[in-house]
């Protein structure tokens, strides 16, 4: 396997706080990488560097082995790296298919929107991705959180993203909704066209869909194993041990 995305010694400080310290992460082509860690461990900061929202203080990001400098989310997206937020991305007032094509609409005669064509393409694409909704004509506001997220992911894939960054895709979602997203990720993995980084709190779900797990602690990756060679027990123990150490330190001071 070849690494599609790699970071070398990425560091980021916010004032006196060191959010990330020399993080070297590797994402293989077609892989699903789970990024876990406690609150404040640096997961979100890392993803924000990868999607171009923040810029690193030092270190390099390599895409297909070539160094890239990400100045904005838009630029990262044009390189095929896309972050999918749960709710931010979609316009509630527009139909599903208009959301799918927002910013790159098909137009026909007289520069009028080719609604029929967009409707057909959106339906085909969502069906191919196994996203089930009543109709592409419904307003996004009517859909559930899971369906909205699925559509945001589908839109990103449709725009030929090669790397998807999913920030807490399962947060605030019921079991059924969560399963919908996990199925979608599994399908994408099976197709092998996109590589995915998932940030999550729920380790059990991570183990279900990820090929590999990275644990971030205090801004550094302290654990990196294929999912097949670790277990829920091991991950839980690691985080609990960290918590105990912190508490003992706190008590000792």
């Amino acid at each position: 396997m070849t690494a599609i995305l790699r970071t070398e010694s990425l560091s980021k400080r916010f004032g006196a706080v060191t959010a990330l310290q020399e993080v070297s992460l590797t994402l293989e082509q077609g892989e699903v990488l789970g990024l876990i860690g406690d609150n404040g461990a640096g997961k979100s900061t890392l993803v924000k560097l990868l999607c171009g929202f923040h810029q690193p203080d030092s270190g390099r990001i390599l895409l297909d082995g070539e160094e890239i400098v990400l100045k904005s989310v838009r630029q990262a997206r044009s390189l095929g790296i896309d972050i999918v937020y749960q709710d931010l991305a979609l316009i509630n007032e527009l139909s599903v298919y208009h959301n799918m094509f927002l910013g790159r609409e098909h137009v026909g005669f007289g520069r009028l929107l080719s609604n029929r064509r967009m409707r057909r393409l959106a339906t085909e694409h969502l069906e191919a991705m196994g996203v089930r909704i009543p109709s592409v004509d419904v307003e996004v506001a009517k859909l559930s959180g899971g369906q909205r997220q699925a559509i945001a992911v589908a839109r990103s894939v449709y725009s030929r993203s090669r790397i998807l960054l999913l920030d807490e895709p399962l947060a605030a979602m019921g079991a059924k909704e969560g399963a919908l997203i996990l199925d979608l990720v599994s399908d994408l993995k099976a197709r092998g066209e996109v590589s995915i980084v998932i940030i999550a709190h729920n380790y059990a779900q991570i183990l279900e869909v990820c090929d590999r797990v990275n644990l971030l602690q205090h801004g550094t990756i302290t654990f990196d194993k294929p999912t097949a060679r670790t277990s829920l027990q091991e991950l839980t123990d690691l985080v609990v041990a960290e918590y105990r150490r912190a508490r003992t330190r706190g008590a000792g001071e």
Binding site: A89, I91, L94, H98, G103, V107, R111, L112
Partner: protein
């Protein structure tokens, strides 16, 4: 039944159409004059300026902004035409274009201050409203002016003096802007910007350009409404639009027509029907000899009722019960 309700909820204009027809039938039943040729001309001439200004207001409201200055832009535009022809010696057509472009430029200014300098549009256009009022009153010395001879003929007939000119222009403008809002990229982006600014810009929509553009469209339409009113009353009156009157009528028409002030939704057809309802009310009450004073009472109640209905309908539709 379910299907009818579904269609009704989807086409919010339908309820306003029902009200417009109902009002019409009521006034026909109480007075024969209501559907006489002259009175229909009156109603169309009262509806058109409000509907034309309201089209711009709807685009702005949908994109999440408001323009309080359109009414005085309507007063300024015919004066610009008058100054250009009578003082600066410009030919008729360029002078009219200059008058329209004055509206466009004021819209551009409003858009720039709102989008680039980040002043809320309510405040921006409140300021513009007073500035433009001052310009109109100062330059005209608060006196009406004559329609310049150069445009007081065929051009004047076409631009509002003829009986059905108002209706014609209103129909053209409403049709074009309805297509703009519902069938073009510009319209889709306008809805997106008003619905979720951040999400729209993330999707690559040029949000600033959309907002500023809608201010410019609104300003131009305000100027146009002022011109056709000046030709209709055959005087250039500093009080065309009645200061805030035209603007408030336009916002009322938009709101009655089902446009939410929160942005993200609204309909052009609805605002035109809203303008028709208001014109019918005012005209009909006039005919049957009710004093004009309760008109405001009814107008206020209509705005409140349609807004309440609008909010609850939106909630119903969101709940997925359609």
């Amino acid at each position: 039944m379910r299907r009818i309700r579904e269609e009704f909820l989807r086409h919010r204009e339908a309820s306003v159409l029902v009200v417009a027809i109902g009002l019409g039938l009521y006034f026909v039943s109480v007075t024969d004059v209501f559907v006489s040729y002259d009175n229909l001309v009156n109603i169309s001439q009262a509806t058109a300026p409000a509907a034309i200004v309201a089209c711009g207001t709807v685009l702005l409201l949908v994109s999440g902004e408001i323009d309080l200055s359109v009414g005085v832009v309507a007063a300024l535009a015919p004066f610009m035409m008058h100054y250009a022809i009578d003082f600066w010696g410009m030919p008729a057509i360029p002078a009219i274009l200059l008058a329209l472009l004055t509206g466009t430029a004021i819209g551009l200014g409003n858009g720039f201050v709102t989008v680039v300098l980040r002043v809320p549009s309510f405040v921006t256009t409140l300021g513009t409203f007073y500035v433009v009022t001052g310009v109109v009153l100062t330059t005209s010395h608060a006196y009406p002016a004559e329609i310049p001879a150069a445009v007081d003929g065929t051009i004047g007939q076409w631009l509002g003096a003829a009986n059905w000119a108002h209706l014609g222009w209103a129909l053209v403008i409403v049709t074009v802007l309805h297509i703009l809002l519902t069938r073009t990229r510009w319209g889709l982006h306008t809805i997106a910007v008003g619905g979720n600014l951040l999400g729209a810009s993330e999707a690559g929509v040029r949000t600033g350009r959309i907002k500023i553009g809608n201010f410019m469209i609104g300003g131009t339409l305000g100027a146009f409404a002022g011109l056709i009113e000046a030709f209709r009353i055959h005087t250039i009156d500093p009080n065309i639009g009645g200061g805030t009157g035209l603007m408030f009528t336009a916002v009322s028409a938009a709101v009655i027509g089902g446009t939410a002030l929160a942005g993200g939704s609204g309909t052009i057809i609805g605002c035109a029907l809203g303008a028709l309802v208001l014109a019918e009310l005012q005209n009909g009450m006039n005919l049957i000899g009710i004093s004009a004073n309760p008109y405001f009472l009814i107008l206020g109640a209509a705005i409140l009722l349609s807004m309440i209905a609008n909010v609850s309908l939106t909630r119903l539709r969101r709940a997925g019960r359609t």
